[in-house]
Symmetry: C2
Subunit: 270 residues, 2 copies
């Protein structure tokens, strides 16, 4: 089972930590790939790395695409360009593979999901966030997440989510909707509740701490421990379940049936 | 007693909250000045507002200069330009005032201190931070602060301060040094300790909470309260003391004797 996940956002928003937390890997710790951000980037780079993980008894070949340099320089005009080109190049390759005589099994290396990290600034989306999402919402499934959500108090999270969703609506941005087609009907209330958490406010950590004699992943502050897997602290577990357990197939289907079709039609029309 | 403090940093770094916390004013709450950031700025704006505060029995006429739009657009090239021009315009005006026949009392509206907010990204200074400080370190006293320091665990704060100071040194940036000329000699050890806290890691809040039956300013998280005036939680009190109590006069002196002199000599040489 192949799945390609792209991660986009400014340096320092906790992207590598979150990826490691999501897949319980220390992906970025081993020599496969070290994302130590190029301190003075010139442009957005694309860095692929593949890791084999087991999720719910299924072997998953996960390709992670990191985008160091995005939003990190003084002039960020067009910083999404390399990302758009990269996604298109996957569609182009797939289109060529599909049209070969001996079709057989086609590897699916297209980008199935793009996690977009929004900095917890408290006011709303910035120009760069809006620009990026408008450039990509018709190319791939965008799942916006609020980075370092432990920067916000619970009231601030609620307020920020509202203003972000408003900005998304005002700008006609289409984000991935997490349809509940695959979930049991009896879960409908639960599904609705999950969807209401969008955009997910995430906290990531690779540190295991002991809280009330229980081992938890968290961040140790002098005033307490922000627990990654505590639903009262952040939406990490919700995000994890929705991307890895319940909606991975749908993310692939939408990529194939909507975004790739879009590319294909535009390409053939020209 | 007049003092002009400029505040620079991207939208959402807690600048207005910190200013309100520093001067115990709800400066931004009354109609004198509302800093609701222009959501889609085109350039850096300069916004002045004056407030009268009493500090240690002294009446202080404080001019606050906010710089909305700085670092907030997609292309931030030259976003420091309006700030540099503004500071120079104050020196220019002072130069003209000084050269008038009937000198008398000259108001001192020059910028005495510039608080530069560094986002807590964890990796170090960004290009825009370095660029800004290089453009301004010979024009005014730069006091860098780490914004929203409650985003960091104590270990992360220590590490981040180190890398920021290294970046500052590597780029030949001159920040204000908080000399201990005015502090008692017996305080030397204390002064040294204070200086070692630079860049100050700040947390601001306008919310009063009750912790252990004591009223404190802080941020209420599900996992605890980050207290603004608790030295184990952040350097807010240190910053406050150094700018308002012990070093306000020195900031004015350095502005007059070093930065203004610099401007004057350059101006007269041309
Ligand atoms: N407050 C907070 N800090 C985090 C979180 N995740 C990571 N960090 C810290 O943020 C810094 C940058 O994290 P990193 O994963 O390298 O960010 P990246 O540059 O986006 O990949 C490190 O000091 C992390 O410990 C989080 O959820 N909350
Ligand atoms: N975590 C954290 N959040 C803060 C802090 N100070 C302010 N905030 C929050 O950050 C958001 C933006 O604050 P604001 O003062 O308006 O930032 P400004 O745009 O830089 O003036 C608000 O939701 C504040 O409550 C702080 O020290 N730590």
């Amino acid at each position: 089972f192949q799945f390609s996940l792209m991660v986009v956002g400014q340096s320092g928003l906790g992207k590598s930590t979150l990826i490691n937390s999501l897949f319980m890997t220390d992906l970025y710790e081993d020599c496969v790939y070290s994302p130590s951000p190029q301190r003075m980037p010139r442009t957005t780079e694309i860095k692929e790395s593949t890791v084999s993980v087991e999720e719910g008894g299924v072997r998953l070949e996960l390709t992670l695409i990191d985008t160091p340099g995005f939003g990190d320089i003084v002039d960020n005009s067009q910083c999404w360009r390399p990302i758009v080109d990269y996604i298109d190049s996957k569609y182009e390759k797939y289109l060529n593979d599909e049209s070969r005589v001996n079709r057989g099994y086609t590897e699916d290396y297209r980008i199935h999901c793009c996690l977009y990290f929004i900095p917890p600034n408290g006011h709303g989306l910035r120009q760069i966030d809006i620009e990026f999402m408008k450039q990509l919402h018709n190319k791939t499934n965008i799942v916006p997440v609020i980075a370092k959500a432990d920067t916000f108090t619970p009231e601030e999270v609620v307020r920020f989510k509202k203003v972000v969703l408003q900005d998304i609506a005002d700008n006609g941005i289409k984000i991935y909707q997490f349809p509940d087609a695959q979930l049991d009907e009896e879960d409908d209330a639960a599904n609705q509740k999950l969807r209401e958490a969008i955009p997910f406010a995430v906290v990531g950590s690779n540190t295991i701490l002991e809280v009330n004699q229980k081992k938890v992943r968290g961040r140790q502050y002098p005033w307490g421990v922000a627990e990654v897997e505590n639903a009262d602290h952040c939406d990490f577990t919700t995000l994890r379940n929705m991307i890895i357990r319940t909606h991975m197939q749908d993310l692939k289907d939408i990529t194939n049936n909507v975004h790739y079709e879009n590319y294909r039609c535009t390409k053939l029309a020209n």
